[in-house]
Amino acid sequence: MTSSIGNVASVAARAGGTVVRQVRSVIDPSAARPAGAGQPASGWLAVTVFREPSDIDAAALPTPLAEFGDRIEVRVHPAPGGKGTELSARLRDRPSSGPAASRLSGSDPQADLRSALRRAKQLIEVGEVLVVDPAPHGKRTASPGGVLLEAWTRVAPKAGVR
């Protein structure tokens, strides 16, 4: 890379968040839809757990799912091809999916359920839920890109930004 081109690259790269949005909208056109984007119409959310169906008792679910109590319904099916067990859950009372801004605020019950499914899968497969924070880091200098990434990271363990 020549130095002049490199300088242009450095400036342009600061607009990185735009790239992510562009990439996502091109790869997944549903991402541009205002409501229901990334959510199945049925409301069922699913993870595949690498365990036999007999190892997963729908009446004695891991804590993250058990905490939902009667607010969710759960189904358990064998996954084809020896891939384990499909563990699905959906909210009995499902709010309409809000705009991206509300999802980014972390107040999306669907996202909470997705997070619970993921944590339940980890508890069954590994025995613990992996955590990353607090991770060592240096000074967090404020920047627009940093704010966006921080918001994204906050919801990423839940349901991404879908």
Binding site: V8, A9, G16, E125, G127, P136, T141, T153
Partner: protein, 391 residues
């Protein structure tokens, strides 16, 4: 403690950060002995993977000594000398059980980012942005290693720290490319890129029985390393027409396997490079696929092209017609190192894999910014800048 951090685009810092602690039962805390820069770090440094926050600790290729173990760790004890694979993988999910460790369902605590980008999340990687988990990197005196029974490997006596260091990422990434591309005895294999990963992909292909292995680059010192330390042939793409040379070397067929070990910031002579630069800077493509295009063009009919260099998003002018009409197999992967590291360490102990030459510049953490500058600009023949936190 002191750490080398990403401060912004093309800005590397050295600053004080807190020491890591055990957060999960399967963690260890590692006292870092050596930690290397990697070509893929340059994509972070340049802002091409826009998921870094100021203050993030860099580094994903490292070895060291176990300083503390979580209560769920069975394989390691304090004082063990280990090398750690750069990907965080649980070892228990379906993907890990298929030995596709970089695709681990559980190793990335921030799955939503890559899920949104790519449809599904892959595993995590140390020091490689919040898209791959937000894990603190290894350019520090200490690092937390989750899933340590899966990701940390005891280094055999007689294998030096510097040699073992590259069993963390460069060598297993090369092994992933050669093995997943299906290199077989008698194959002719071409590898684009003579950096650490390209060199190790070439070495892996040779050890897997390839009849002839050719590495392509433009830096004389790297090509010399390939000839001297890897034992493969070389082509300088600024001196020759690479596809023409490869055709001549293969009786007109083209290589059976083409491994691209360059990634999203590929360089090439001619107008194609300028075109890709302009498209990338205008955000009309995120990655420059120059070497991938050439690999597809050069590959023999029915052959395999493997993208081992890091790509993040979209590319332009992708020769899908050649892929389809030549019946190519196109594959790619991050490294499934857990699968290959035991074999690599064994081969290192028998001198079949030598990597010391990659560490052209060893320095202290205080020299982090200098090391990255030298590595990026290839100053003084820098192939890899390596940091020794204890120095």
């Amino acid at each position: 403690m002191k750490a080398v951090t990403w401060r912004g685009v093309d800005e590397i810092g050295v600053e004080d950060v807190s020491e890591p602690t055990i957060l999960n039962d399967h963690d260890i805390i590692l006292e870092v002995g050596l930690t290397a820069t990697c070509g893929s770090d340059l994509h972070l440094m340049g802002g091409y993977i826009p998921a870094m926050r100021a203050g993030d600790v860099l580094g994903h290729e490292f070895m060291g000594t176990v300083a503390e173990v979580g209560r769920g760790v069975a394989k390691h004890q304090v004082g063990d000398r280990v090398v750690v694979v750069s990907f965080t993988s649980c070892g228990q999910c379906w993907y890990c059980k298929q030995e596709l460790y970089s695709l681990c369902d559980n190793g990335n605590p921030n799955p939503g980012i890559t899920e949104a980008l790519w449809g599904q999340a892959i595993g995590g990687c140390y020091g490689y942005s919040h898209a791959l988990g937000g894990w603190a990197g290894s350019h520090a005196p200490y690092i937390r290693v989750p899933y340590a029974d899966q990701g940390a490997f005891a280094i055999p006596d007689g294998v030096s720290d510097v040699r073992a260091l590259f069993a963390s990422d460069a060598a297993p990434t090369g092994w992933t490319g050669a093995h997943q591309a299906g290199v077989q005895a008698g194959d002719v294999v071409a590898v684009w890129g003579a950096g650490g990963v390209g060199q190790m992909a070439a070495r892996a292909a040779m050890l897997m029985g390839a009849e002839r292995v050719v590495v392509i680059d433009r830096y004389d010192n790297r090509l010399e390393q390939v000839r001297t330390h890897v034992g493969a042939e070389t082509l300088d793409y600024e001196e020759v027409d690479v596809p023409a040379e490869l055709r001549e070397m293969t009786g007109g067929r083209g290589p059976d396997v083409c491994i691209e070990a360059v990634g999203m910031e590929a360089h090439s002579p001619g107008p194609q490079y300028l075109y890709d630069q302009v498209k990338q800077q205008m955000r009309l493509q995120t990655d420059r696929p120059t070497a991938v295009r050439e690999a597809i063009y050069a590959c023999r009919k029915g052959g395999t092209v493997f993208t081992l260099g890091v790509f993040a998003g979209l590319v332009d002018k992708f020769p899908l017609g050649a892929v389809m009409n030549k019946a190519l197999t196109l594959r790619g992967a991050q490294q499934h190192g857990h699968r290959y590291i035991p074999e690599i360490l064994d081969r290192m102990s028998r001198d079949e894999v030598r990597t010391e030459h990659l560490a052209t510049h060893v320095m202290s953490l205080d020299d982090g910014p200098k090391g990255y500058r030298m590595f990026k600009d290839k100053e003084d023949g820098c192939v890899r800048a390596v940091f020794r936190p204890g120095a």
